[in-house]
């Protein structure tokens, strides 16, 4: 008899857990997500850094301190196995005042305690060698060469694809509304699509982990959102080679200046605490963006004009009571495991979180885990036209002429890329066609023109492949349909 595991939430945490648990013969893993696709919660909008693991105080935040560095190490393996876009370019925490060095020394010390290798304080000369275009105010920095960057949603997608290939079942657009507990044991989860039986329920619901926990009768923590806003600039604008941080303050790691993995200059985030009920408030604000701009200018004075902004966006960090990750089997309810309060550095920690959960299942729930004889650790990245040489293009068009036809001009995404994305959406169970699902898999619509040329073509392909009218295709799930009907719908007076 297999032990049935229900994981609530297909963010980076839930996905990573699903992948790690997919390794075991005696588990039947269900990954449940309310959104139409994976990775659309907290994991969607963040700084995308694989942090160095030096800034969490192991006394105050033992989980964060332990899992961040372990996660960083694990990502080196995961990005290769799963072909996740990444770069290891290191970070500089920059001092602009003499007093800043006290803080940097503290971080260095903490990093040593957490087991972070290779960090050191660099003087001005070396600093400018590492980052020539930094503000002239800089006088030194903490150099953390092990820091990297990944594509966060591509990472979730890759992990879920691999998990599904290894037998995990996904339930998308399936919102959990209750947890069934009998005699102190979990029995399953109620969802808007019916009951899913489970012996173990893992709560990886991001911003909503407190609500899910309450459904199981556990209410010792609350999660409130902390908003961070960002600017993304057009390609071709020179950005830094390293990830640049200011010297942190007690509240925040500060506003980062970085060249994100697609080569665009990105600045952000600020930190604004919101009341617990504002978990859907992802609106950008002028005040927040202004803060980001001012903050970034201190490290990177040559910010381009505002007309070079191609996108602004906001993310919400799930801030838990107490501040540390809450990862444990709850004693009152056998089989209920919280993976809650996964705020920053949750993206970095995710692989380590997943192994921690496997260990909890083995150790605290006493379930022996039997490895599959054949478990496939590998997953192939989708074809990206922009990475192909002309000779390689001639190879892929033999397979399918659609690969030769570019539809996103800015980022060079071919029709073949899009069709492959749609195939992969279907593979992991995406039911509602959305432009965002294609965007996160192919990068179409994220370039200079922000999709005004290619979005209509993507809509048409989605409509065709999903067998719906183009107006029924959504931007990002139900309620965000592209249109209200065919072009004559109002004219005929029969609109909804």
């Amino acid at each position: 008899m297999k032990t049935k595991v229900a994981i609530i939430g297909a963010g980076i945490s839930g996905a990573s857990i699903a992948r790690v648990l997919s390794r075991y013969e005696n588990l039947e893993v269900h990954l449940i997500e309310k959104a139409p696709d994976v990775g659309w919660g907290v994991s969607k909008a963040n700084t995308a850094l694989i942090h160095g693991g030096y800034d969490d105080d192991p006394k105050k935040y033992p989980m964060r301190a332990k899992l961040c560095i372990r996660g960083n190490r694990l990502w080196h393996q995961w990005v290769k196995e799963l072909e996740i876009p990444h770069v290891w370019n290191g970070a500089l925490i920059v001092a602009t005042k003499e007093e800043d060095f006290d803080e940097l020394e503290k971080l260095l010390e903490r990093g040593r305690e957490n087991g972070v290798p290779e960090m050191r304080i660099v003087d001005k000369e070396e600093l400018f060698h590492l980052e020539p275009n930094l503000t002239k105010e800089a006088i030194g920095a903490l150099w953390v060469p092990i820091v990297g960057q990944i594509g966060p949603i591509p990472a979730v997608i890759a992990i879920v694809e691999n998990a599904v290939a290894n037998g995990v079942k996904t339930h998308l657009e399936t919102e959990v509304t209750g947890i069934k507990v009998e005699n102190g044991e979990v029995k399953g989860v109620e969802t808007k699509n019916g009951f899913i039986e489970a012996d173990i329920v893992i709560n990886a619901a991001g911003l909503y982990a407190d609500e899910i926990a309450r459904m199981a009768g556990i209410d010792y923590f609350e999660i409130h959102p902390r908003k961070g806003e960002y600017f993304l600039f057009d390609e071709g604008i020179p950005g830094p080679r390293r990830v640049l941080f200011p010297t942190p303050t007690p509240i925040s790691k500060g506003i980062v200046v970085t060249t994100e993995i697609s080569g665009h200059l990105m600045i952000g985030p600020n930190a604004q605490d919101l009341p617990p009920e504002e978990k859907e408030n992802l609106a950008t604000t002028r005040e927040g963006l202004e803060q980001v701009w001012e903050g970034a200018k201190k490290l990177w004075p040559q910010l381009p004009p505002r007309s070079k902004v191609i996108r602004t966006f906001a993310g919400l960090r799930p801030e838990p009571t107490g501040g540390d990750f809450i990862i444990k089997a709850e004693e009152e309810v056998w089989g209920f495991i919280n993976v809650a309060g996964i705020r920053s550095p949750g993206l970095t920690s995710a692989p380590a979180i997943a192994y921690e959960v496997a260990e909890i299942i083995r150790h605290d729930l006493g379930i022996e885990l039997v490895e599959k004889r054949k478990w496939n650790p590998y997953r192939k990245e989708i074809t990206h036209f922009f990475m192909l040489s002309p000779a390689q293009i001639n190879e892929v068009v033999k397979r399918d002429p659609a690969y030769g036809k570019v539809i996103c001009r800015c980022n060079r995404v071919s029709e073949g890329d899009v069709l492959e994305a749609i195939e992969r959406m279907k593979f992991i169970g995406v039911k509602t066609p959305s432009v965002d699902s294609v965007k996160f898999r192919t990068k179409a619509t994220t370039g200079t023109c922000q999709g005004s040329f290619c979005r209509p073509r993507i809509i048409q392909l989605l409509a065709r492949e999903y067998g719906v009218g183009p107006w029924e295709v959504t931007l990002k799930g139900k309620g965000s349909e592209v249109g209200i009907g065919d072009v004559k719908v109002l004219f005929r007076g029969e609109d909804a």
């Binding site: 609106a283 602004t312 000779a391 030769g404 036809k405 570019v406 922000q450 349909e481 209200i484």
Partner: protein, 418 residues
């Protein structure tokens, strides 16, 4: 590279819109071996989505719709036997020397390299989007650029929404206002940042015809609505375009159309070091629309944003004549280049350099509207009176070669009140 199929041409035209089609037709008529490439599935560029009339009055002396105008050109192209490929995207231009260039393109039948003597770059423009104009808030469905909305409605047959707010009173914004109104939607407002409307007079009539409120000196600053647009926030601006605190108000709408101007698409040109004029956003060109890289010509909206398709086609033909002259002489023969400079109330102009070997059409835009003005070229003593000038209406005027010849160094164009 060497393993790519190789093609050979005198001229490769990049872009199959009116500028590119006109260039290809003319080049063929002049006896050149031409290849036209376009990444759409059809010829015509943005014309097939422009189903309203107003095209070709100058060129065909007849008022046509966009698709009709495109079809006429496409027909001539086919009749003349011009080689063309659709669904073909140029990936790279390589400029080996003034006489040898390579265009690499991808298509459903694979990637090719085309060796060519000249290139006519007619890749058009892109639209400015919501983020570029600083709109904050949510990003649900219902936010479209005007061109995207046009494509979705008029090519894919999708009705986008019921209650529409349009940013920008240029021609495209106004035409989309009418388009929505004609299909039964309520256009709740057109919001214009400047104190005057941006479109041609005939298009401004649309507002009255359909009873659409126009807010001058206003801007959209925020959109709300998580899944889909629900409301947009608008604020009044002063004469320096600064927001006036306390003047904010919201309009409920499910659709926001951004028609905030076009930017020439020049990425392939900048990649090979073609000089760009920051005021037009397009390349610096001479009187044959040759860019700063010998043998690379440009035309249409990738050089300067035009109001009329007729001008675009005219530029394409001129570029083709340039290519012919270039090929025949292994370079454009000229004794000197005279710089055309912007003077008072001239925001942008092309061409930037004149040879004085031929008559030229000057295309220019003023910075601010004025009545009863004189357009002057002081160095050559040329003057022209005009009752009105508006930033929305491109000035087009001819300088004859004898006039240009009078200049010693540069010629200035200025627009001054009388």
């Amino acid at each position: 590279m060497n393993d790519l199929p190789m093609l050979n041409y005198d001229v490769v035209v990049i872009g199959g819109g009116p500028a590119g089609m006109a260039a290809a037709v003319r080049a063929k008529e002049l006896g050149l071996k031409v290849l036209l490439l376009d990444d759409n599935d059809y010829l015509g560029g943005i014309l097939p989505q422009c189903i309203h009339p107003g095209f070709g009055l100058h060129y065909f002396k007849e008022e046509l719709t966009g698709p009709e105008f495109a079809a006429r050109f496409a027909k001539r192209l086919v009749e003349l036997g011009v080689d063309y490929r659709t669904a073909a995207r140029v990936l790279e231009i390589k400029n080996y020397s003034d006489l040898e260039k390579v265009v690499v393109f991808s298509s459903p039948s694979g990637a090719y390299q085309v060796w060519t003597k000249t290139i006519i770059y007619a890749a058009g423009a892109r639209e400015r989007h919501a983020f570029e104009i600083g709109i904050v808030g949510d990003r649900g469905a219902g936010i479209y650029t005007a061109g995207e909305a046009q494509t979705l409605m008029d090519i894919y047959g999708v009705m986008l929404g019921k209650e529409i707010v349009i940013v920008g009173s240029g021609d495209v914004g106004l035409i989309m206002a009418r388009r929505f109104a004609l299909e039964g939607a309520k256009v709740k407002a057109v919001i214009e940042l400047m104190p005057y409307p941006g479109g041609l007079a005939r298009n401004i009539m649309i507002l009255r015809d359909f009873d659409i409120p126009l807010y001058l000196s206003h801007k959209v600053v925020e959109v709300r609505g998580k899944e889909r647009v629900e409301r947009v926030k608008i604020v009044k601006v002063d004469e320096n375009l600064r927001e006036i605190p306390g003047t904010e108000f919201w309009i409920e709408a499910d659709t926001l159309i951004i028609s905030a101007g076009l930017v020439p698409s020049v990425k392939l040109l900048t990649a090979i070091g073609v000089e760009i004029d920051p005021t037009t956003g397009g390349p610096v060109v001479n009187d044959l629309f040759e860019t700063s890289v010998p043998g690379i010509f440009a035309a249409g909206n990738s050089v300067i944003i035009n109001d009329l398709v007729d001008y675009v086609a005219e530029q394409g033909e001129l570029a083709a004549e340039g290519a012919k002259l270039f090929i025949d002489n292994e370079g454009i023969p000229t004794r000197r280049w005279i710089k055309l400079e912007k003077g008072e109330n001239v925001r942008l102009l092309v061409p930037h350099y004149l040879s004085g070997e031929r008559d030229v059409w000057i295309y220019a835009r003023v910075s601010k509207p004025m009545e009863n003005v004189e357009v002057r070229f002081p160095e050559i003593g040329k003057k022209l009176r005009l009752p009105v000038v508006k930033p929305a209406e491109m000035l087009r005027m001819k300088l004859r070669k004898e006039e240009i010849a009078k200049a010693r160094d540069g010629i200035t164009m200025e627009v001054v009140p009388l």
